[in-house]
């Protein structure tokens, strides 16, 4: 797989193909699998993503601790006019839905991780469904997202314990932004700018879940991560470029993660987890989990 997005963009543009194509070719070469076989596996992931969205929107799930649940249904069922357009509201609802399913031990696709699993399916299927884009194009978009995530894994990290939430929902926002930009007709270069634009907006984001559970703020951070991805897509498709190349933005995320205090890396020692209310809720809910 590629170790820089710049190389992937150069290859795609030299061949006159998309990032999805060079990603599938590289995966096929690395793993000794046919492109059809890889697409089939991505199609299965897509079906699970759609299943999780549908399941979460029902609104009857509560997390293990009872801290989160029901909010995807709340936003999807809001009958007031959307503040920023119907697809925006729809994408937020889908991101919450997947993450509520995850918190309730439902089946999701960890893409790139379970804690950041809401962003990518919400952005990709939300935008595709709004425009009547079919599953083949979504599978290509997943390949592009996988390429971006692989570069992040190589150059920085995809683990909140290592790099904070910027490495989970932040990386997911970059993956979603680049993949959706290409899905909506952007060039590989535009997709790369979308990655940079999304990821710059999440630099420094800490991982501070109450009680160490993948619940609060994780569920909401997937929704705000999706919103950042949408902003990046809108800018990139308008031809806006970001002066710092995506690879260097990703490296910066890795550097910040390495320098981030351990309290902000999934240990529940800092951030929202360490607030008076955060500590109280975690104490109460952990007792409840032990009883259940």
């Amino acid at each position: 797989m590629y170790k820089t997005l710049a190389d992937a963009v150069r290859d795609a543009e030299a061949r006159g193909v998309r990032l999805a194509d060079v990603a599938l070719d590289a995966e096929s070469r690395d793993q000794g699998r046919t492109v059809a076989d890889i697409r089939h596996a991505l199609g299965r992931a897509l079906a699970v993503m759609r299943g999780a969205i549908e399941r979460g929107l029902v609104g009857d799930l509560m997390s293990n601790s009872g801290l989160v649940g029901g909010d995807a249904h709340r936003i999807a069922g809001n009958t007031a006019a959307p503040v920023a357009g119907a697809p925006f509201r729809d994408v937020l609802g889908r991101a919450l839905a997947v993450q509520e399913v995850n918190a309730a031990m439902g089946v999701i696709v960890a893409a790139p991780t379970a804690g950041g699993a809401g962003v990518l399916p919400a952005v990709l299927t939300g935008l595709a469904d709004a425009r009547g884009i079919g599953d083949d194009a979504l599978i290509d978009a997943l390949a592009t997202a996988g390429l971006i995530g692989a570069v992040v894994a190589e150059r920085a990290s995809l683990s909140g314990a290592e790099g904070g939430c910027q490495a989970e929902t932040g990386a997911a926002a970059g993956m979603a932004a680049g993949a959706a930009t290409e899905m909506l007709g952007g060039t590989p270069t535009q997709a790369m700018h979308a990655v940079a634009l999304a990821q710059q907006g999440t630099l420094g984001l800490v991982c501070d879940p109450l009680g160490g559970l993948v619940e609060l703020p994780c569920v909401f951070r997937n929704a705000t991560g999706a919103a950042i991805a949408l902003a990046a897509i809108e800018m990139a498709l308008a031809g806006i470029t970001f002066a710092i190349p995506a690879d260097e933005v990703i490296d910066t995320m890795g550097d910040i993660g390495r320098e981030m205090d351990v309290r902000y890396r999934e240990t529940a020692g800092g951030g929202l987890a360490a607030t008076p209310t955060g500590r109280r809720l975690a104490r109460e809910r952990l007792v409840q989990i032990k009883r259940s």
Binding site: M1, S65, V109, A110, A114, L158, G212, E266
Partner: protein, 224 residues
């Protein structure tokens, strides 16, 4: 080498790729070391597994893995009840396996018993569902479950590796990696063989029938 399907995956029961999916995979590998669902299991949780495991269903995921459930199996949610019904006697302990800085924070030691076979496996969940087994029955090992894997203990006789390699090659099974460790010269040798093609039970039986092989097990790969 990072694979696209590691990034867009695994398909799994939530909520944590390290504390749930990875924990399940470690359970699956330990199950393989006794050739099926254990009768008894002691699960010693270390570090973050011990601290936040309950909230992440680490306990259910490990016990589910011991019963052969894969990370995407929704039965994981009720794995503890199923285990009690099916006669898997499990026990959890929180422990500190070593100095925190030397051992990965998400580490578990599993002592599993099935019939008269007993095995102790230590492994860690590295993030994104990836796992690493670091010790089996006191022998240091290092494998990931990304391949089908054959593990065996043999007396330290000359030509043992060549004999086993030829059994595999006769069956068109390609060896990806082979690691050998032993506690001292002339002592038992522990072999971990990762293979590209799934070995059948017959291959395992043929290896086990070698007079100098004390035991051999076949661990199905646990990655997607």
């Amino acid at each position: 080498m990072v694979s696209l399907l590691d990034i867009i995956g695994p398909v799994m029961v939530g909520p944590s790729s390290s504390h749930t999916a990875g924990a399940c995979r470690l359970g699956l590998l330990a199950r393989g070391l006794v050739g099926g669902t254990p009768d008894r299991a002691l699960v010693e949780l270390h570090g973050s597994f011990a601290r936040t495991g309950e909230g992440h269903g680490t306990d259910k995921a490990i016990v589910g893995g011991l019963m052969g459930f894969r990370p995407d199996d929704e039965r994981i949610r009720t794995a503890l009840e199923i285990a009690e019904r099916e006669g898997l006697a499990y026990r959890f302990e929180k422990t500190s396996l070593d100095d925190e800085h030397e051992i990965h924070p998400n580490t578990v030691r599993l002592t599993v018993e099935r019939g008269d076979r007993r095995s102790v496996m230590q492994g860690s969940s590295l993030g994104a569902g990836r796992v690493l087994v670091s010790e089996i029955d006191g022998f240091p090992v290092e494998f990931t479950g990304n391949h089908d894997t054959i593990v065996l203990v043999a007396e330290d006789v000359k030509g043992s590796i060549a004999r086993i390699a030829s059994i595999l090659s006769d069956r068109s099974i390609n060896i990806a990696t082979l690691r050998l460790s032993r506690q001292h010269r002339g002592g038992d040798a522990f072999m971990v063989i990762e293979v590209d093609d799934p070995p059948t039970e017959a291959v395992r039986d043929e290896i086990r029938a070698l007079p100098w092989v004390k035991w051999a097990f076949r661990l199905d790969k646990v990655s997607a």
